[in-house]
């Protein structure tokens, strides 16, 4: 690679972070080069330093962090040494950033078009008229519906996938030399993700923009990147062209990333139904959320519920948990009719059905210690107190592969995966017969996901609990569910045992869900696009 071809060069980069009263090194000496027009995928687990690396490519560190060594060279400019003002002029002009959550990155009070052109006009790069025409052109290239009028909408009026594309348009406005994508599709449904990935890839290729694409999802990055860098504990452990990396990973850690998802639990077909939905309908206000839902959850079984957002799968969870009353049909639990709202259920029923919510971050009280959170169901349902309670909490923590030192910690001191374990431990504390898991693995890394799934299966083997496992990711339930319900627009479009649902012929919607799950294969997206083109 000739020196003039290199757009971004990092050498020996070190970044320090400050947490819990001591300094820890987040980035421990990274050397990286990015050529003009090249897409470099950066992959690694949470805490590997991916996002810090992405910010560093703009000469920026998070609050409380600092550069402690090395250099970053952007097209002959020293990003670490330059003043804030010089950096400000680069950002949004020659370097752009696309963040993970588009919804929180847009100002809800302004129209999309105004926000798309704001930086460009503010910097005097384009007149407002030019910028508007430019934005409409980008909306068109990004396949946004009705590009002429798209920008007149407010952020809440468009879907998450569209918003993520609008943010890409915003980043492309000034025709930057470098775009940093930080997990741009992580929060999206699989089917939406495909569309966003495709448009991002085509646009970046078309304009010859260099990109740093940060993700924890190997399958996603292999669709886009020319080269992949694997990050672990703040170091690049392996970097190679995509095809070579996928065909022939050399480092042990890289191989472990490739090897995830080989869970296989024998399918169970027996068991008395513990939960039964019969012709259930439900609505939020005047909009109907569920129509004619009928299914059984056999005792000690793992029932997966899959579908995109808006398919009604979370509504099913809310009904079982007693958060939403049904408007027609009936629900029975352990042979008896189940009262609609949780306030009408007796304590024994409340104990027997536990809910593990989607976001572990927000489902544990941030002001309670882990011991208090897990101990509370023990107090409430079994009257355990003091030392007795604590020793049971320690047992539960051990079952979740967490040490007794977690007893006194606060949720803010835990990682996402640890919080989800605490969340599951709290559900298990009640010794339930049925656990409703609402997207418990989304937002977690592949490795952490697998560890959590293994835990759930082990608990089931030991205690015979049933799961109603809600997810948008077919991949998650592929190896472990006994039964599957596929939901679409408030209806069950297909249901049956795992072997039936996963073997052809598929229902067309199931087919689409299955095809949308990214594969670790650089040609997967191309094939999918080709298949779409030929009806």
């Amino acid at each position: 690679m000739a020196a003039s071809d290199i757009l971004l060069g990092m050498s020996g980069l070190r970044i320090d972070g400050f947490s819990r009263g001591k300094r820890t090194e987040i980035v421990k000496g990274i050397d990286l080069e990015l050529a003009r027009g090249e897409i470099l995928g950066v992959i690694g687990e949470t805490g590997a330093g991916k996002s810090s690396l992405g910010l560093a490519a703009m000469g920026y560190v998070r609050a409380g962090c600092r550069f402690t060594g090395g250099s970053i060279d952007f097209d002959g400019l020293d990003l670490i040494g330059m003043t804030e003002e010089e950096k400000r002029r680069l950002r949004g002009h020659r370097i752009a950033y696309v963040a993970q959550s588009a919804l929180s990155a847009f100002n809800p009070a302004h129209r999309l078009l105004d926000q798309t052109i704001e930086t460009c006009v503010d910097r005097g790069l384009q007149t407002p008229e030019e910028a508007r025409a430019n934005a409409v052109e980008l909306y068109r290239k990004l396949n946004l519906p009705d590009p002429e009028n798209y920008g007149r909408r407010f952020p809440h009026q468009v879907s998450g996938g569209q918003l993520q594309r609008a943010m890409t348009a915003m980043a492309m406005m000034s025709r930057p030399d470098l775009i940093i994508f930080d997990e741009p599709t992580t929060a999206l449904d699989v089917t939406t993700q495909v569309e966003v990935l495709r448009t991002i890839r085509d646009l970046v290729r078309q304009h010859g923009t260099a990109a740093l694409y940060i993700t924890h999802d190997l399958a996603v990055v292999s669709q886009l990147a020319d080269r992949i860098a694997v990050l672990q504990h703040g170091r690049v452990v392996e970097i190679a062209p995509t095809r070579q990396m996928i065909a022939n990973p050399t480092h042990d850690y890289t191989r472990s990333l490739w090897a995830v998802r080989n869970l296989d639990k024998p399918e169970r077909r027996d068991g008395e139904p513990i939960l039964r939905f019969n012709g259930v309908e439900a609505s939020y206000g005047s909009s109907r959320a569920l129509s004619e839902i009928s299914f059984d959850v056999p005792a000690s079984s793992f029932v997966g519920v899959v579908g995109e957002s808006g398919s009604g799968k979370t509504t099913v969870a809310r009904i079982v948990a007693g958060l939403l009353p049904i408007s027609a049909g009936s629900v029975s639990f352990a042979g008896k009719p189940l009262a609609g709202l949780s306030v009408h259920r007796d304590r024994e029923t409340l104990r027997r059905i536990q809910l593990v919510q989607q976001s572990a971050d927000t489902s544990i009280n941030p002001r309670h210690t882990i011991g208090q959170s897990i101990g509370r169901p023990l107090e409430l349902y079994f009257g355990l107190k003091g030392r007795e309670r604590d020793s049971r909490v320690v047992q539960l923590l051990e079952q979740m592969e967490l040490g007794p030192e977690f007893l006194t910690r606060l949720p803010s001191e835990l990682s996402g995966g640890q919080k989800q374990r605490v969340n599951i431990a709290r559900a298990l504390a009640a010794q339930p017969d049925l656990i409703v898991c609402d997207e418990v693995t989304s937002g977690l890394d592949q490795l952490v996901q697998e560890a959590i799934l293994k835990l759930l299966i082990r608990v089931q083997e030991e205690q015979g609990v049933s799961y109603l496992f809600i997810t948008h990711d077919m991949n998650v339930v592929q190896g472990i569910s006994d039964k599957l319900l596929v939901m679409h627009q408030g209806r069950i479009v297909e249901q049956g045992f795992r072997s039936e649902v996963f073997s052809p012929p598929h229902h067309p919607y199931t087919e689409r869900l299955l095809a949308s799950v990214p594969q670790v294969d650089p040609d997967w997206l191309n094939r999918l696009v080709a298949a779409d083109a030929t009806p």
Binding site: R66, F67, G81, T83, E84, L323, L350, L355, I364, P377
Partner: protein, 280 residues
């Protein structure tokens, strides 16, 4: 040191208490010491007449005497005790009432929340001082009535704050979890929600304390607050106000004492609020 490095200076340094906060804390501590140990510090009694009326500063006593010949310094010191003590009691009462009802409104059924909110709205619609004046005129001019009436009027603001900050927490996942676990309403109010709204409430506590303090001084100035011969800063300003015409600084001293405490409390609050904001 480059600009970059300065911008990224050690977070430890940024966590230090700012100079205004330190000054505020010191002043508040000094006031508290004076208030607690007033009888030991004051050179003369609260209502003791030590000599001629209206003696200028330095003649016989450090700050001179008031219109009845009482020592201004001693009265200032006792005034700290009365004014601060009553303000603290009043603020505590307003938080007890307003905070509990605000939390209740957040978790209560809609009809109860609406009823409570309209009652508090109605109270807030009447100007603060006028309502206090009317109620004090009706229920008598004693310290108990003063504390109860001001506490209740002030609880309307606390109610609003507690209710508003509790609402987003009521719909949070962990409160949902508590609800489907079968927790009682009081557990949800005081064990799940309250710990999470403490930071804004603490900030508000200081602010309301300042306001109550000013209200008591204002009511005393108007003659319905703390009654003579009990010394308090508001009535001291009122009693000596005519002296301003003669160029005496005597009425300005209690006013300055009020101003200094209010400013100090706000310095400390700014620091506390910034600290809480920085944590998020």
């Amino acid at each position: 040191m480059t600009r970059q490095e300065r911008a990224q200076a050690d977070p430890l340094q940024r966590r230090r208490i700012p100079i205004s906060g330190v000054a505020g804390l010191m002043v508040i501590a000094a006031y508290l010491v004076v208030a607690l140990f007033a009888p030991l510090i004051a050179p003369h009694g609260e209502a003791e007449i030590i000599g001629q009326a209206l003696l200028p500063m330095g003649e016989g006593s450090l700050l001179g005497t008031d219109q009845l010949g009482r020592d201004v310094l001693s009265r200032l010191i006792y005034g700290a005790r009365n004014t601060i003590g009553i303000a603290a009691l009043t603020t505590a009462l307003s938080f007890l009432v307003g905070g509990s009802l605000g939390l209740l409104a957040a978790v209560a059924p809609t009809w109860l929340e609406l009823a409570l909110s309209r009652i508090f709205d109605a109270l807030m619609a009447i100007p603060y001082l006028i309502l206090a004046l009317v109620l004090l005129a009706v229920f008598g001019r004693n310290v108990t009535a003063l504390v109860v009436i001001l506490g209740l009027i002030d609880s309307t603001r606390v109610y609003r704050l507690a209710r508003a900050t509790a609402f987003p927490i009521v719909v949070s996942n962990y409160v949902t979890a508590a609800r489907i676990r079968g927790e009682s309403r009081s557990w949800i109010m005081f064990r799940e929600i309250l710990p999470n709204i403490i930071p804004p409430l603490v900030a508000e506590f200081g602010l309301r304390f300042s306001f109550v303090f000013l209200s008591i001084s204002a009511l005393s100035f108007l003659g319905v607050g703390i009654q003579p011969p009990t010394a308090d800063w508001g009535s001291m300003v009122a009693e000596n106000k005519t002296l301003i015409i003669y160029g005496s600084p005597a009425p300005l001293l209690p006013a300055a004492a009020i101003a200094l405490l209010t400013v100090s409390i706000n310095f400390v609050l700014d620091w506390l609020v910034n600290k809480a904001g920085g944590k998020q």
